[in-house]
Symmetry: C3
Subunit: 255 residues, 3 copies
């Protein structure tokens, strides 16, 4: 079976950065199957990358190595980490990028990537995707013992997941992010929305939980359980984000 690498970056598509990472991978592990998970994470937005990983990781085959580069600290002393969970492995900067995915796949072993032997020489100060992440990934996909990457570490940077909490205006959740269609993914789950309850953004009602977009008329807001298991706020055949002028971090109340 070909080893699988899944790439998540904020490099976008206008520059050759992602292509160069794949060039390095192809040279050092030609048998790898490389899958683009996403490269349009908003630049330096660790939280958006964390949400993508939370939604995507469970759907990749066992053994997939996620190579995650949303890395505002590149060139500083922030560490590059390797970790493995029950089913997958990960390379990522020590900035919390993996914290939300850890909620569905706890990490069993975490190491600092410090061995110069898995890096290109010289290592630039601006493109560790090419100089550290890609060659380390190639080495791992070829079977390198992860113990050779560097020492186990005890602590790492955590990104807090905003857990819904009670408030005098009802259960208070928030918007975690928006997708291309203008749907807002919240941190609420089905069990957080009792029968008869409705959702509100500020004072504006969005409605009760629906089975599907098609349960409302075109142009009307719809609250559905989204594909990542979280409650999503939508407008059928429209954009919730535009209609409600809402973005990540905005409060959503259930009452």
């Amino acid at each position: 079976v070909r080893p699988v690498a899944a790439l998540l970056t904020d490099f976008g598509h206008q520059d050759p950065f992602v292509g160069v990472m794949k060039g390095v991978l192809a040279g050092r592990c030609p048998e790898a199957q490389v899958i683009d998970l996403c490269h349009e994470v908003p630049r330096q937005d660790v939280r958006a990358g964390a949400l993508h990983l939370l939604a995507a990781v469970p759907y990749f085959p066992d053994g997939t190595l996620f190579v995650c580069v949303v890395d505002p600290g590149v060139g500083s002393r922030r560490r590059v980490l390797w970790a493995r969970g029950e089913r997958h492995a990960f390379l990522f900067p020590d900035n919390g990028l993996l914290s939300w995915a850890e909620r569905v796949e706890p990490l069993r072993e975490v190491r600092k990537v410090s061995s110069k032997r898995v890096m290109l020489r010289p290592v630039s100060s601006t493109f560790h995707g090419r100089d550290i992440f890609a060659p380390a990934a190639a080495a791992l996909l070829r079977g390198l013992d992860p113990a050779l990457l560097g020492p186990r570490i005890a602590s790492r940077v955590r990104l807090r997941f905003p857990v819904p909490r009670g408030s005098k205006r009802g259960l208070r959740g928030e918007i975690l992010g928006l997708d291309r269609f203008g749907n807002a993914v919240t941190n609420l789950r089905r069990g957080d929305v009792p029968r008869g309850a409705a959702l509100f953004v500020g004072d504006r009602p969005v409605g009760p939980l629906r089975r599907a977009y098609a349960s409302v008329r075109p142009g009307r807001p719809a609250v559905v359980v989204g594909s990542a298991g979280f409650i999503e706020l939508s407008v059928r055949d429209g954009s919730f984000a535009e209609r409600f002028n809402a973005g990540a971090g905005e409060a959503v109340h259930v009452r």
Copy 2:
């Protein structure tokens, strides 16, 4: 030979949706070769997706399975269909997305995808690309007998192809779509433009048929036979769409 899947969606690149579909495919059919046909179909624009398929399908190898997800009806009772033509096979929502490609490759067998055995469990109401299309594609690429997907069906949703027709202002065609370069693809063919005839958008002349963009000076409009066999309206080293402020559906006359 590795089985080939070609993906066409309106998921865009900012979200992990396409990556997740590939994760499901990689887990269930690791030997598949997965080709991105296009993921930037304007959202929910079935007509734009239909035009892409019409232009692209003939150039893919025999046996390619096209997995097509431009699907405003996701979560409603619209059906997911599988079909095969003489050379290729297709998975697509029953909304007309394949109607224009059928003009070049008629369908010989059409089935409703209803077997739960080829779907993930549970099936979400918002992401059938992940829960139905990708796993059904993987099963087919691994050799599943299509008869096990579900029953043959007799009728399906059709998207009308706008055939050029006579009018008192000359043969009336229309713009089917625009490309990145601002070229306008029309529904006219070479045989629709007699020697000595010129094309008009409204009252504005675009000129006679040319051999290539280079037949006119930079900045001038050029009418050429485009790569899909349709007449295209261009501006050399410029954008026809911007210069003529024209878009899909706009009338084009030959006289």
Copy 3:
């Protein structure tokens, strides 16, 4: 080992052009590994494509065939060329697109692609990526003797590389291009910036050379050696391009 093709175009992602090229490649050379180097080169911007190739070519495995289609002259008499350097091979239009990469990998043999046997029939006047580049690439990846493509040629179109030069305001370099993060890549190298010198865009100081973005405070400009070996102008956690309202071609002085 699977043969590797790297694709660089200005086709973007909204149209099926890149997908169609891959369809042709998959039909004619199913064993090829096809890597997207970049498809968002600004349209018809040969200079931007040349910069991408200069930065990327060295990181691809030996034997990679670069298929480069930034081609404003498509359909005119401009030639399609094949060339090989010490490690890689190239298909490209004769417009200077490869001139800057030649600075790091000189070409040893250059041929005109004229054999109809490696092209689709008919050849359109607008989409040589599909009709010439992709099938010629597939033939080469399958082992075609390049001598069968067409005759060797002695001269070709060159794109001048702007070498820094002395001026009364100090060494005068220029901005070669911008990346997604708003960093400006210049034509200056580390050796062009003596200790104690600073860089200026117009009269505005950008500062001395730093080790990394993290050497300055967030929001401050930083001059670093970028990943392609050129001096880059940045703003930490911000956009140099926006802050300094600067773009390709703009003068940068060292003094």
